[in-house]
């Protein structure tokens, strides 16, 4: 139980700061709707389209991805840099358990982050005279949570491979960028989905751009593939961790 506590304490500040940042920006987008919306398009945007553009496809999505990578940082390699590794590894606990607990706590934090817009958008929209369907918000929350755990795992793996305070986030962000570029290449498009598009629904059969609303069943097969990708990254992290010298 105390390992869960350790993982929570190590990520608590980052999680709370991320939550506040996401919540403040999400709320700002709702309250600044009348000021921001006219500048986004020549034609007036409906409120759901505005929300989709600015949050699910826009700044909030990018911020969310960055924050999930940020949450994935830390772990044993970082502990080596901080010189607490001797204490941690002398505990009668396997490295597998240490990393598995950290991954689980991080995954829960990512899911909670993903649900923030799902809670805030339907709750705050009436305050500016608009409505946003909760079913839409929760649909996007599922997409964000699934993809967010993948980018979290990228941060986690980068932290396993690179201990440096700045090296790991740069490596993870580069990995994310590299994957997106690869997925956008014409030859790879048939086999890979750009995770940005999976999150926003852009050019996806389950989303209608004109209404800004999810319009079909969620892409469960794609989400399963993303989850398997997440699991693969975590397993690679576990294998590397078990072989590392500290």
């Amino acid at each position: 139980m105390m390992l869960w506590y350790k993982a929570w304490r190590e990520s608590r500040v980052r999680f709370l700061a991320s939550s506040v940042a996401l919540a403040v920006i999400c709320a700002s987008f709702v309250f600044l709707h009348r000021d921001v919306s006219p500048g986004m398009s020549d034609e007036p945007l409906t409120y759901p389209v505005y929300i989709w553009h600015i949050t699910y496809k826009g700044y909030l999505r990018e911020l969310f991805l960055f924050l999930t990578i940020f949450l994935g940082l830390g772990g044993l390699t970082r502990e080596r840099d901080l010189h607490t590794i001797g204490y941690t590894l002398a505990l009668p606990v396997s490295r597998f358990r240490l990393l598995a607990v950290r991954s689980a706590v991080g995954a829960v934090e990512v899911v909670l982050l993903a649900t923030l817009p799902a809670i805030l958008l339907p709750v705050l929209s009436p305050l500016v005279g608009q409505t946003y369907p909760p079913s839409q918000a929760w649909g996007f929350a599922i997409l964000w949570a699934t993809v967010g755990t993948l980018t979290y795992a990228m941060g986690l793996l980068a932290s396993v491979l690179f201990g440096g305070e700045f090296t790991a986030p740069v490596a993870a962000c580069s990995g994310l960028l590299g994957y997106s570029l690869l997925a956008d290449m014409s030859g790879a498009k048939r086999y890979l989905s750009d995770i940005h598009d999976v999150m926003s629904g852009l050019d996806m059969p389950y989303f209608t751009e004109q209404t800004g609303l999810l319009s079909g069943p969620l892409p469960w097969a794609t989400l399963l593939a993303v989850t398997l990708g997440t699991a693969l990254l975590v397993v690679i992290g576990l294998c590397v961790t078990n072989r590392q010298d500290f």
Binding site: K6, L82, T84, A90, S94, D245
Partner: protein
């Protein structure tokens, strides 16, 4: 169990690229003793300890901690339940308070003794509500010791335990270690502080360049080890001295200096038979043995 070994290594080797951190180390640490583990900086002491605790994987060779293989993660984890370890830098989780860290550590060990923890907390004057990151190095060292000594481990491994402590703290530490040993805990500690080692250790192992160069009981050092110096009228002869017990031979001009671990009388007689003008037999300190051991290979 007077003759069992809590630490055993056989040809234990660790290489980092071309650097041989530990080379074919055959180390046997007996139970119910205090063993000092000596060596210069970079001699391989910390790497050896890390291999014993499963933090670093050996390149080759084998080892056992409390009879359990260090190569088997599961067995090593089981051994660590009965081992307390104080790392060289004594860094602990800075984001926890002293009290939280004690609670955290306690949860992993069935042999935790709350009364001892409370007593040490008071003795060391550690503020329970203070964040670990706000502690001085000396207080952090005391906290690390509290976490190790509040249990009744079979084996206590300490890497440079007195570093960061003031003289009073060092004295308390030495007394605490002797007390723990008297309660049945085997102690294995690395140190550069030879007077401390000489005061409390029963046995000493010296490593140099990753190789075990000496392993002796301090009683033997006091009773059997001698420095024998022969003075000659001319240059010291380079005859080979094939007498058991001779550990080191050093020739300098007309002097021949030897360190022997026994047979001092026979060696002295051999010197006289070589026409030595003076034969001086003197006790030798741990410091001298240490310097002799590590300087030869420098």
């Amino acid at each position: 169990m007077p003759d069992t070994h809590v630490i055993e290594t056989h040809q234990l080797t660790k290489r980092f690229g071309d650097f041989h951190a530990v080379e074919a180390l055959d180390l046997n640490v007996r139970s119910n003793q205090i063993t000092g583990f000596l060596g210069r900086n970079g001699a391989g002491k910390s790497t050896t300890i890390k291999m014993l605790l499963g933090m670093t994987h050996p390149t080759s060779g084998t080892g056992a901690l409390l009879g359990r293989s260090i190569d088997d993660p599961r067995a090593n984890r089981e051994a660590r339940r009965h081992v307390a370890y104080v790392a060289e830098d004594k860094q602990l989780y800075g984001y926890l308070t002293v009290e939280e860290l004690i609670r955290f550590t306690r949860s992993f060990y069935a042999d935790w003794r709350p009364d001892v923890a409370a007593r040490l907390l008071a003795t060391y004057q550690l503020p329970p509500q203070r964040k670990v990151r706000a502690l001085s190095k000396g207080m952090r060292t005391k906290l690390a010791l509290l976490l190790a000594l509040s249990r009744q481990p079979e084996l206590l491994i300490l890497d440079e335990p007195s570093e960061g402590l003031d003289p009073v703290g060092i004295e308390e530490l030495l007394q605490t270690l002797v007390g723990a040993a008297s309660e049945g805990t085997t102690i294995f500690f690395s140190s550069h502080q030879l007077p401390e080692v000489e005061r409390i250790a029963d046995r000493v192992c010296i490593v140099d360049h990753g190789v075990l160069v000496e392993d002796f009981a301090l009683d033997a050092l006091r009773e059997d080890y001698r420095r024998i110096t022969f003075g000659f009228a001319a240059a010291a002869p380079d005859d080979e001295l094939l007498i058991p017990g001779i550990r080191r031979v050093r020739r300098a001009g007309r002097q021949l200096s030897l360190v022997v671990s026994g047979n001092a009388e026979a060696v002295a007689a051999r010197g006289r038979s070589m026409n030595a003008v003076t034969v001086d037999v003197a006790p030798i300190s741990l410091r001298e043995v240490f310097l002799e051991s590590v300087q030869d290979d420098a």
